[in-house]
Amino acid sequence: MQKGEMYVGWSTKEDVRKRGGSGGLVTSMLAAALEKKLVDAVVVLKKINEFEAVPIITSDVNEVLNSAGSLHSVPSHFAKLIANRNLKVALPAKGCDVRGIIEQGKRNAINLDNTFIVGLNCGGSMHPVVTREMLEVMYKIKPEDVHGEEIEKGKLIFETKDGKEHAITIDELEEKGYGRRESCRYCTIKIPNNSDIACGNWGVTGDLVGKATFVEINSEKGGRLLQNAIDAGYVQLQKPDEKGVAMRAKIKGVMEDLGKKWKAKVFVPIDNGRLEYFMKELEHCIDCGACKTVCPTCSCGEVSKCTQYHSRGDAYKMSMYHLVRFLHLSDACIGCGQCSDVCPVDIPLTRLYRRFANPVQEQLKYGPGMDMRKPPYFEVKLNE
């Protein structure tokens, strides 16, 4: 199978096909890779309840097959989970996961030759706590009653256990501050073409809607992964129709334009009082370091410039920790939004980091995690 080929596929296992989202292709592909010893381990989400799931590394095929099906509200990041472990692993990944994994690969924490990245189309994810609050305030239903969730024609639909459907448009939700996480709203990586194989339900037409997955092969490794699943008898493929391919491209375009609009809305230039703005946003920082711990592009470890040159006792007007992080992330921030998620005092860190990263990443035309290109600093050659 060659790079650039597109297929529509589904799982041959009835049970997985029914339970998993969009035909269970990804789940079957991961299970097949594990069974045929293409990889030693697979990362899957283990469901706790409708709103929470923990990522686990497993070598058990049954555990992989049982993992199928989870809600949108699980924004955990896989890059740091598999870093520094020297695993031969296959894992599903959203656009930002893929970027994080590639960045860890550049920092020699992950061996990308041994990592099969199954990219998933992603229109955005939701924060579990915000989702619970949204259900109570906007939908007027108890979070415990939720049985399923769906996005259709710009509406977010929750299904309760008694079979009723509750729908509100995403625009309305986001105006009120609910809905997708902020970093997802202005994200423009909707189809992860930087992964080995990009999967998603966009582009599936006709009878297959909801029962099949559209796949695009992005690398030789991705082709190997899919071929292995076919050989093992786990998945079935067919060629997509032209309408489907066009539809997928159209959805991608629409989502990206929406992302750009949000970007213009969130990053309003501040002409006066920028320093006051940053000082005000950061004044509640308690130096817990959680933003650094979760950051998928940071691989400095415990001893790093941002922590070693920072002291709580300094009478400085800005914390050295944040200044160094602002600088280090201006060529590395992938905008995954994890730092905002974990901040115990709710500093909108991703928004602040992106303020510094956006102009310089555009100016130097360097997008971290999009390919194996090294940061511009490392491109200085000896004979120049």
Binding site: I270, G273, R274, L275, E276, Y277, F278, K305, Y309, D314, A315, Y316, K317, M318, M320, L323, V324, F326, L327, S330, D331, R355, F356, P359, V360, Q363, L364, P376, Y377, V380, K381, L382, E384
Partner: protein
């Protein structure tokens, strides 16, 4: 700026000398500073020179620290491009400076407060003029907004 604001700034800056931290590389700009003295070029006493072996050694962290400790301006100087004693140290400075400049500017610090200049060991006059120009500019701007309480 309104008339009152101008008066206020003037009162604040009356007799005030800015503190400028100038990072100079051992092989070129430090030599430039030397020949500025040797050639008796007049320059204000506002600059504190920190000698580093190469401008590539200047970590953005040093610049942040200078600002946080109360510097009103920070100058990054080195050899002309192509003249680096360590082959490509100043090429690296150039890229690093781009990121540093972006952070400092986005933070809301005036762009005059952080400047980059290439000065060779023979350009004493250029060095003196540079320090004089920056001092003038900073005197107009007043003390740095990042200066800690109680530091002059």
């Amino acid at each position: 700026m309104s008339a009152e604001a101008v008066a206020a700034t003037a009162a604040k800056t009356n007799g005030w000398e800015p503190k400028i931290v100038a990072f100079c590389c051992n092989w070129c700009s430090y030599g430039g500073a030397d020949s500025a003295g040797m050639g008796r070029f007049q320059q204000p006493a506002s600059a504190r020179i920190i000698r580093v072996m190469c401008s590539g050694r200047i970590d953005p962290l040093h610049v942040f620290n200078a600002f946080l400790e109360g510097a009103d301006a920070v100058l990054v100087t080195g050899c002309h491009i192509g003249d680096c004693h360590y082959v490509n140290g100043n090429d690296k400075t150039k890229i690093k400076y781009k990121y540093l400049e972006n952070v400092v500017h986005e933070l809301g610090i005036e762009k005059e407060r952080l400047q980059l200049n290439w000065i060779s060991a023979s350009e004493g006059e250029k060095f003196a003029n540079f320090i004089r120009d920056v001092t003038e500019q900073i005197k107009k701007l007043g003390p740095s907004p990042l200066k800690p309480e109680g530091v002059a």
